[in-house]
C-alpha cells in the first residue's frame, strides 16, 4: 500500500515536471493566437482559436515585420557557417585524437577554453575588423565571426567522436597504402557521421540564437538574422504588443524545435560529449 502511494506520488511529480517544461512554451503559442485586448481580458487565456486571428497575427509578424525574410537570412548564415566549420574543424579534431605531439594537451585545452570566451569581449573588435575588410553589413560579416565562435565547440565534440574509433582501423588503412588524408576522408568521415550531425546541430543552434555580433555588424534590414529581428522587436526596453511579441517568439523558436526533432537522439550525445566516458 505504502509502495503504491509512493509510486502514485512519483508519477504526479513526473507529470508536474513535464508541465513545468512544456507549459511556458505552449502558453507563448496560445498568446500568439489572441487579440491584443484578449490577452489583457482573458486570464487565463481560453483555448478557443480563431483561424482569422491567427493568420492576422502571423501575417503581421512574418510579412509586415519581416520575420520570414530574417528566417531566410538566418538559414543562409547558419548553413554556410556550419559547412565551413565542419571543413575546418574535422581535420584538427582528427589530429588531436590521433597524434601525440608536443603541446597536444595544451593546444587542445587552449582551443577548448575559447568555448568559454564571453562574446562581449570580442564583439567590438570583430565588428571593427569586419569594417576594415569591407564585409560589414553583409552575410560574410556574420559568417566570418560565427565560424570562430563555433569552431572550439565543434572541435571539442569531434575529438570525442574520433576517440571512440579504435586506432587499429587507421593502422589497417595505412598498411593498405592509404595516406593520412585518405584515411580521414575515406575511412574516418563515414564512421564519424553521427559526430558531424551532433557538431552541426550544436553549432547551428548557437548561431541561430546569436545576436550580439549581428547587432554591431548588420545595419540594413536586408541582412538581419532572426535572433536580431526578434531582439529588436521584443526587447525588454520598451512596451510591446504581447500577441505580436508571442508570435515573434514562436516564429523564432519553431524552426529549431522542428530541426531538433529530426536529430533528437544526437542532442543528448552532444550535451554529454566529453562528460561521460
Amino acid at each position: 500500500m505504502k509502495r503504491k502511494i509512493g509510486r502514485a506520488f512519483a508519477y504526479l511529480v513526473l507529470i508536474m515536471l513535464g508541465l513545468a517544461g512544456i507549459a511556458p512554451i505552449v502558453y507563448l503559442g496560445v498568446l500568439s493566437t489572441k487579440k491584443r485586448i484578449e490577452i489583457l481580458a482573458q486570464v487565463p487565456p481560453t483555448l478557443d482559436f480563431k483561424w482569422a486571428r491567427i493568420t492576422k497575427n502571423y501575417n503581421e509578424v512574418l510579412f509586415s515585420q519581416g520575420m520570414l525574410e530574417f528566417t531566410v537570412n538566418s538559414i543562409i548564415v547558419v548553413g554556410a557557417t556550419t559547412v565551413l566549420v565542419l571543413v575546418i574543424a574535422t581535420p584538427a579534431a582528427y589530429a588531436f585524437s590521433r597524434f601525440r605531439f608536443r603541446g597536444n594537451e595544451n593546444l587542445a585545452f587552449t582551443i577548448l577554453s575559447m568555448r568559454f570566451m564571453p562574446p562581449v569581449a570580442i564583439a567590438i573588435p570583430l565588428f571593427l575588423m569586419m569594417q576594415w575588410v569591407g564585409t560589414h553589413d553583409s552575410y560574410l560579416g556574420l559568417i566570418l565571426p560565427y565560424i570562430a565562435f563555433s569552431l572550439p565547440l565543434v572541435v571539442w565534440i569531434m575529438i570525442g567522436f574520433f576517440d571512440e574509433i579504435p586506432q587499429e582501423i587507421d593502422d589497417a588503412a595505412i598498411m593498405d597504402g592509404c595516406t593520412r588524408f585518405e584515411v580521414l576522408w575515406r575511412v574516418m568521415l563515414p564512421m564519424v557521421r553521427p559526430g558531424l550531425v551532433t557538431a552541426s546541430l550544436f553549432g547551428a543552434i548557437f548561431i541561430w540564437n546569436e545576436f550580439l555580433v549581428a547587432l554591431y555588424v548588420i545595419d540594413s534590414r536586408e541582412f538581419q538574422t532572426i535572433a536580431l529581428g526578434a531582439a529588436t522587436l521584443v526587447s525588454a526596453q520598451r512596451p510591446i504588443d504581447w500577441n505580436i511579441a508571442a508570435a515573434v517568439g514562436v516564429v523564432t523558436v519553431v524552426p529549431i524545435l522542428i530541426f531538433s526533432l529530426f536529430v533528437q537522439r544526437y542532442i543528448v550525445r552532444g550535451l554529454t560529449a566529453g562528460a561521460v566516458k
Binding site: 581535420p91 525588454a236 531538433s260
Partner: protein, 305 residues
C-alpha cells in the same frame, strides 16, 4: 616527367604524409582561423581598453590605464560585479542540486519518463531572448499565467520585475528553468553508465538508501557534476541575451551583470574603450577561476573520467 623528377615529387608527397608534417597540416586551418578571428580580436580588445575610442570619435587616443582606474572607482561596475557573483553562485547552487535530484528521480525508470526527458531538453534549445519574453508574459503582474495560478491558491504573487529585491531572484529562476535540465542530462547520462553491481553490492551490505547515495552514488557522479557545474558557471557568467530579453538590466540596474554592463557600455553608450576594459575584467575573473579550477579537475574530452 623524368624518373628523377617523379621521384623527387614522390618524396615531396611522402614528406607531406609524415606524421610530423601531417599533424600540422591538419591543425593549420583551425589554428590560423582562431588566431585571426579569436586571438587577434582578443588582443585588439586589450588595446582598445587602453584607449578612449567611442563610436562617434572615429579614432581613439591612448589613455593608458585610465579606463581601468575609472572602472575601479565606478560604483556601477562594482554593482555589476556583485550582481554577477550573486547570479552565478545562486543559479549554480540551484541547478546543481535540482539537476542531481532530477537525475536520481529519473533513475526510478518510471513509465513515460522518456517523454518528460525529451520535454526537459526543449528549454535549452530556445533562443534566450524568447525565453525572456516568454517569462515576462508568464509573470506579468496584470494577466500572467503564473501570477494567476498563485492568486488562485490564495497567495499574493511577488512583484517579480517591479522591485529591486525580486528582479535578481526572478532572473535566477528563469535561468534555472532553462538550464537545470543541462545538469540533469549530464548527470543522468553518467548515472546510466555506472555499473549496477556497485549499487547491488551496497544494498546487499545493508546500506540505507540515503547512505548509498551519500557514499556510493555521489562520489561516482562527481566528475559529471563538476563538468556540468563548470559549464553552467561560465555560461551564466557570460550570458547577456537572457537579461536583454527579460529585464534589460533593470529595474535600477538590479539585474545588470558584468556581461550586460559591458554590452551596455559598448552598444548602447558606444563607449568602446570602457566596454573593452569591462570585458577584460571579466576575462581576468575567468582566468583566475580557471586556474583555481584546474587544480581540482581536468577538462578535455576523454579526460573527464
Amino acid at each position: 616527367m623524368t624518373p628523377a623528377s617523379r621521384e623527387r615529387l614522390g618524396t615531396k608527397l611522402g614528406k607531406l604524409d609524415r606524421p610530423g608534417t601531417v599533424v600540422w597540416l591538419l591543425l593549420a586551418p583551425t589554428l590560423l582561423y582562431l588566431a585571426a578571428f579569436a586571438i587577434f580580436p582578443l588582443f585588439y580588445s586589450l588595446r582598445l581598453s587602453f584607449t578612449d575610442l567611442t563610436a562617434a570619435a572615429g579614432t581613439g587616443d591612448w589613455v593608458g590605464l585610465r579606463n581601468y582606474g575609472d572602472l575601479l572607482r565606478d560604483p556601477h561596475f562594482w554593482n555589476a560585479t556583485k550582481n554577477s557573483a550573486v547570479m552565478v553562485s545562486a543559479s549554480l547552487a540551484i541547478q546543481v542540486v535540482l539537476g542531481v535530484a532530477l537525475a536520481m528521480f529519473f533513475n526510478l525508470q518510471l513509465r513515460g519518463a522518456w517523454l518528460v526527458r525529451g520535454i526537459l531538453v526543449l528549454p535549452m534549445l530556445i533562443t534566450p531572448i524568447v525565453v525572456g519574453v516568454m517569462w515576462r508574459a508568464l509573470l506579468n503582474p496584470d494577466w500572467g499565467l503564473i501570477n494567476w495560478c498563485i492568486a488562485a491558491v490564495g497567495l499574493e504573487p511577488p512583484n517579480w520585475f517591479g522591485s529591486i529585491e525580486m528582479a535578481m531572484p526572478t532572473l535566477i529562476l528563469v535561468e534555472s528553468w532553462q538550464w537545470t535540465p543541462f545538469v540533469f542530462i549530464i548527470v543522468y547520462a553518467r548515472l546510466q553508465a555506472l555499473p549496477q553491481e556497485v549499487f547491488e553490492a551496497a544494498i546487499v551490505d545493508g546500506a540505507k538508501p540515503l547512505a548509498t547515495f551519500r557514499f556510493v552514488t555521489l562520489p561516482l557522479l562527481m566528475p559529471a557534476i563538476i563538468f556540468a557545474a563548470v559549464f553552467r558557471a561560465v555560461d551564466s557568467f557570460r550570458s547577456f541575451d537572457l537579461i536583454f530579453g527579460l529585464s534589460y538590466g533593470g529595474p535600477a540596474r538590479s539585474t545588470t551583470t558584468l556581461s550586460f554592463f559591458s554590452f551596455q557600455n559598448g552598444f548602447q553608450w558606444q563607449n568602446y574603450g570602457y566596454a573593452a576594459a569591462v570585458s577584460y575584467m571579466m576575462l581576468l575573473i575567468l582566468a583566475v577561476g580557471t586556474i583555481v579550477l584546474l587544480r581540482f579537475v581536468q577538462i578535455r574530452p576523454g579526460y573527464a573520467k
